[in-house]
Amino acid sequence: MKYIDEYRDAKAAQRYARAIARITTRPWTIMEVCGGQTHAIVKFGVDELLPKMITLVHGPGCPVCVTPVELIDKAITLASRPDVIFCSFGDMLRVPGTEKDLLTVKASGGDVRIVYSPLDALRIAEENPAKQVVFFAVGFETTAPANAMAVYQAAERGIKNFSLLVSHVLVPPAMEAILSSPTNRVQGFLAAGHVCTVMGYTEYEPIARKYHVPIVVTGFEPLDILQGVYMCVKQLEEGRAEVENQYTRSVRREGNLPAQRLIREVFRVVPRKWRGIGEIPRSGLGLSEKYAEFDAETRFGLADQAVEESSECMSGLVLQGVMKPHECPAFGTRCTPEHPLGATMVSSEGACAAYYRYRRIAHG
């Protein structure tokens, strides 16, 4: 397919790998932020093409993985109500809550529906006026314009039986949390290409300066990632710490302005709890005052309940790039995609799932 196949060319990948090897003189640790990039790296073996001195660590960019247990529990509470049709992206259904997951609710008769787009959930609300339709609005900045549009259209068209359970997270505060952690070992970032497609990359410029860390906005195909690594290593070797853009075919410096306008209209920045990491100030989106009536937590009076996370799951360390998935004692034994301890083993973008799926030797 155009704009996919050409970026998987093996010869060009080898040329990039050789170019990276030529400029690397010291060990460097680089984090790819987005789970989509992690999967491409592990699936195509991009990391195995790199010189031994380059270590890629996998970032927190998997919204399913960082959604806290209490929100999963709230989703389960809502999905179990007989008056609710609960709509979600498919990834969320097998994420373990405290006692069960959404798939279990569905199996025991809950009306849980997998949708491709938030607009599908809005259509379901229109078609089922006697039911309350709740959409599980999970995602990073990339998904926020879509979810904002669903709420905006619901308000415009007076669709009252529609609401969102919001668990939106933002990338730059998470990167700052990683950089300011005493255990941090990340020296450069490949920033998430689709997040930056929406938001642009001016937000990253103060981070690059403050922490003296190069940040390269990077795409998702093997050649994109290799070029991103090359640009990042080049900066590290030259002692530079700038924001550069590898993914120029999609990302403009200012981002997508119409999308940002609607995000600002419908959402506001709020503190958010990240699974395995804890609360990060100003790291999420919640509905703005004007659209507060579409907030499912308010509509259904879900009290804020603190829930203990499984102590056996070490996904917090994996999400911060401190531990690799196969270094976890539970990996591939007590924790598998069929019986996950944490979301990083469930999501199609989770680092643990990527290792389980593509790294046969590790658990073979």
Binding site: E6, R15, Y16, L119, T143, T197, V198, E349
Partner: protein
């Protein structure tokens, strides 16, 4: 979750910029896609689609830069006479 797939716009419907929809082909599989966030996109353009929304119009010239960068690196090496 931030998966974005490139596809080609084959038709556009609706005049209201905020509800503009289009049919987008992904290697032959056609889906309805909201085009509200790519007001500049026309039939024949490629867009990145995420959960039913086009979030950018792909720039055909910039799409070449991954390969252009490689060519430039190789030329530079030849000029420097490096072969390692």
């Amino acid at each position: 979750m931030c998966l974005g797939v490139p596809g080609k716009i084959i038709s556009i419907s609706g005049d209201d910029p905020l509800t503009r929809m289009g049919k987008v082909s992904f290697g032959g599989i056609v889906k309805d896609v909201c085009l509200a966030y790519v007001p500049e996109a026309q039939v024949g353009d490629y867009v990145i689609v995420h959960v039913g929304f086009a979030i950018s119009r792909l720039d055909e010239q910039e799409a070449e830069q991954v390969f252009e960068y490689l060519r430039q690196m190789d030329e530079l090496r030849e000029l420097e006479g490096g072969s390692a």
